[in-house]
Each structure stands twice: as C-alpha cells, then as structure tokens.
C-alpha cells in the first residue's frame, strides 16, 4: 500500500506485472489500455524503451471513487524483465499490493520462467513482502504459439499451489482483462477488512472489479 490518507480520503494501490524478458508484460498493459473504457483510466505511460525492451517501467493508472467519496487510485506497473535490471525491479516492487506473474508458454522458455519466479520471490522478501500472502496471479501468455506447453501440464504443476492461473494470448487481447480482474478481486479481498471498503465506503468487490475492468462498448 503506497498511501491511505483518512483525512484526504484517498487510497493509492500498486499492482505489478512481473516476469521474464519478452513474456508480454508491456503487451498486457497496452491491451488493458485499449480494451478498457476511458472512464477513470489514465493514459499509458511507457517511460523509456530500448529497441522495444522496457528499461524502467510502464505505468497504467486508474482512478475511481467509492460511493462514500473515497478516492482510489490504482497504479499498474510492469518491470523490465531483462536480468540486468534487477535494481529497477526491486524499486518497482516496493509496497506492491498485488503481482501478476506473466510466464511465457513457450516450452523453450520454461527455464527462464523458473529463474524469473525465483527472482520475484527473492526480491519480494528483500522489499519486505511475503510471496505467500501477497495477492498473486500467474498468467501463462502466448497460448497461440504452436510450441506452447499444454494447459493440463501447467495445471498439474500449479493447481496444487493454490495460485490462480490464467491462460492468455495478450497480443490478441485474450485473457488480459480476466487476469487483471482476478488480481483486482484478490487485492480487494486482502484490503477490504482492513479499510472497511464494503462496510464504510459501500464499495463492493463486484463494483471495485467492474470499475477497474469495464470494457469499451462495441462500436
């Protein structure tokens, strides 16, 4: 939690898209930006790239107001996946309220997924967060690839952990909003009791998710 100001009636949440290089984190944000309604959604800010590779981070902000008047800003970040940018990843992970781990379904990338997930676990603990309690969703991206690992195989590995897994093809906009909605739900569950979102601010789980993930109406 970056900020909760009772006097100002403001809350700032931070969600982070983590994962190995080229797994599709920026594509997820681009798609969210394109798929979701402009209402309460800020502009996507792509800080700096080097040959289409994220150097610092991308930022997609959302702004919503609870019926009580509580202003909630949700900032969604990507981290740079390349191994050399570890310090940046740690800085972006600070005070995160939820994480989407974007894994590459390509079988050849299985090793990089593991290395990156270990890196996530280590960096979370370095910034004082616990991977077992932080809201976490795993997205297996690039399902459209012929060399994608079969879904049953993935489920066999991940289902026992209890971490929700979403299949996606971010380039085609498939599974992107679902991933985001799933994380938003988990984050709501985590903070509802502490900040009395439903009780004091009349903000239900459904409403919270709907406000963040309302799709554009078909033209």
């Amino acid at each position: 939690m970056i900020e909760f100001d009772e006097k100002e009636r403001r809350m700032v949440l931070k969600l982070v898209y983590y994962g190995p290089a080229l797994s599709g984190k920026t594509t997820n944000l681009l798609q969210l930006h394109d798929l979701l309604t402009r209402q309460g959604r800020g502009e996507l800010m792509v800080l700096d790239t080097s040959g289409d590779r994220t150097i610092y981070f991308d930022l997609l902000p959302f702004f919503l107001t609870a019926p009580s008047g509580l202003k909630i800003k949700v900032k969604v970040y990507t981290v740079p996946g390349q191994v050399c940018h570890d310090a940046t990843r740690k800085a972006v992970l600070q005070r995160a309220d939820g994480v989407v781990f974007v894994a590459d379904s390509n079988r050849a990338e299985a090793g990089n997924n593991v290395v990156s997930f270990d890196n996530l676990e280590r960096n979370l603990s370095l910034v004082g967060l616990d991977i077992d309690s932080i809201p976490l969703v795993i997205q297996f991206n690039k399902r459209d690839l012929p060399a994608a690992v079969p879904e049953e195989e993935i489920r066999t590995v991940w289902d026992p952990t209890g971490i929700p897994v979403v299949m996606a093809s971010a380039l085609n906009g498939v599974g992107v909003a679902e991933t985001f909605a799933m994380l938003a739900g988990l984050v709501y569950d985590r903070i509802d009791a502490r900040f009395a979102l439903a009780a004091t601010h009349a903000l239900t789980r459904e409403r919270f998710i709907a406000q963040l993930t309302s799709l554009k109406e078909e033209p």
Partner: protein, 428 residues
Amino acid sequence: MSAETLHFVVGEEKKVRELLLDADVLPLLKGALAAGASCARVTGDDGEELWGACSPAGRGELLRSLPLMLEGEPVAHLELFGAPEMRERLEPLASLLIVALDTVLRNSLKRVLTTEIHTSVVNSSHEELVAMNAELARSEARYRELAENLELRVKERTAELRRAQAHLLQQEKMAAVGQLAAGVAHEINNPLGFITSNLHTLQKYVARFCAMLQFYREHLELEQPRERLVTEAETKWRELKLPHVMADVGDLMAQSLAGAERVSRIVADLKGFSHVDESGESVVDLNQELERTLTLLSHQLAGRAEIVKELQPLPEVKCQGQLPGQIFLNLIQNALTHAGASPRITLSSCFDGERIRISIADNGPGIPAALRGQIFDPFFTTLPVGSGTGMGLAVVWEAVLKLQGTVAVADAPGGGADFIITIPAGRN
C-alpha cells in the same frame, strides 16, 4: 539493498504544483489574454487559483472550464473568462490550451518518474558497491591477518621442526656413538677376558713356584745328603707339574701383554676418534680418520666385509675433530646396511691440489636416480618403518657443510652407491 535505503517509492503521488512550473503555465495563459480572453487561470480541485493571468479591465464571464487530468484523476481546471461575444473564438483556444497543459504535465511526470527510478537504481547500485567494498575490505583484513598469522605459525612450526630435527640429529649421533661404544666394549672385552683368565692361571703358577722355593728353603736347612735332596726335589718338581708351567708361562705373559696392548690401542683410537682431548678446531689427516673409523668398526667388519683401500697422501685439514669421524662412520655403516650378504667397501682418497676427494663405494643395489635428491633429507629412509631413523645421511650432510665441502652420490663401477665427499684443502 533493503527497503529503507530507497529515497523514492515508485508510485508515490505527485501534486500538480510539483509537476507544472510557472514558466510552463503562465506563457500559455498570457497567450490566451493576447488571443482575446480577459482572464485565464488554473484552479486546484478545491477551487483555489494556482496560476492566473487577468487583464486590468476585469474578469468578465466564465466562458469555458475544462478538467486537467493527472493519471486519470481530475486534479485541476482551466478556466477562460471574457466577453460573451468572444465565446465562439475562445472555446477552441481553451481546448488547445488544455491539450498543451496536459502534454506538459505528462512529459513533466515522465521526467520526474525517470529521475526517481534512475536515482533509486543508482542509489541501490551504489549501496551494493559500498557494501561489496566494505565486505572486500573486511575480507582483505581477514586475509591479511590470516597471512600474518600464517607466516608466524609457519615460523613457529619451522623453529619447532628445526628443534626436533636438531634433537633427532643429536639422538642419531648419540645412537651411532652408542653403537660404536657397544662395538668397542666388545673389542675390549675380548682381550680383557683372556688377560683375566691368564692372570688366574698365573696366580696358580706363582703359587707352585712359591711352593717349590719354599721346599728348597726348608730342605737346605735340614742339611740332608745332596743325592736325597736332588731326588726329593725332582719328585716335588714333577708333583707341581713345573716343566709344563715353565713352558706355558712365557706364552701366557706374551699373550697378556699383547691383549693389554690391543686394549690400549683401542682406547687410543676411541680417544682419537672422539677428539675428546681437543677443544675447538684441530688439524686432522683424513686418511688417519678413515683408518680410525675402520678400527672402531672392526668388530662389524672382521670376517664379514671386504675392505679395499686406495688411499693417497692428503694435506691436513683444520676442522672440528669429530666431524670426519661422523661422516665416515655413517657412510660405512650405511654401506654395511645396504650392501647385502658379502659387502665390499672401497675407500679411496686423493688430492688434486685444491680439493680433497674421498669416495666410499659399496657393491650394494645402488641408489635410484629418483631418490638422489631426497636421501640427505632428515627423516628420509628406505628402510622399513622403525628400522631406520632417516637421520644418518642428514648427519653426514650437516658435517660436510661444516667442513665447507659437498657430498654427492654417484653410481659405483659395477653397481652400488658411491658417496663422494669433496672438501677444500687449506681451510683457514
């Protein structure tokens, strides 16, 4: 890196006042005045004016109010005032101004975020470097301490080893001396044995001589007829077996004297070998030292080893008297140990005008080339564990060093080892 060391938290809220400067906003608002607006201002979400530009003529009517968004949240409003007839002209200008402000705001936010993340990364990298540097410094200090201690420990161990080695060398010398003493004792015991036994016999003989003399003395006083005296004396003479005694006594005396002489020669050799009468350095003839050593070892050599001597006259050498004996004793005993059932030891000496060269060669199996670098090391032995101390040749090495010479091993003609000692002559 820990969470506390970051000075910025990525995602902390920025106020519009932090992102827009007067220099960004005021020229735009003044431009609106120039375009015909009577007043142009930006207000915060609480309605308070943040920036404003008004003509002296007064504000006029609010013609357009547009929200300025920051990260999807309306954080300020752009308000344009003017005469109602200017509405049509000023509304598009308001749209243009809000786009300009939005662009400046987003670029400014981007710059601030870039600066923050860059600073964070630099800080953390720097902290990591500082930590690594401190760790390296600590590690270097530990290493240095270890190295210093190691040097000290090595010195201590070396000194300890030196002491142990000196002690062992001394022990080896003592053991050699002990062995020598046992041999010499055996050598002395032999003549001493028969001298004692001869003296016992002589004691009996003297008693018979005394009995015979006593007989004459008593019978002469009796004044018997001469024939009777002669007959009785003859009887007594035979009774005392004096003819046999007379024949034996000469041999007995000669044998005993020879034995006594042998003992005194051995004692003299031993004294000479040990140089017990000399303090410090003395002048020695190395050939004589060789001979003395052989004499002292005669009990080990006699009837067992063949000794071949090829000694040429040598100049005298000034040195500590015991050193040559130590060298020859250890080398000859080594030859005896390794030369098998019928040892043949060839001792040769020569002088080339500068150096004395002494060779002690045996007919044993010889020393393999691979071992020649090690045989003079203390504790090195080819004998089974417990049989040899590995100190004999180390004693030789030390003694030769004290003589400022060298010792080396070569192949003896026809196999076997040939130890060659070279000593500079005319040492002062």
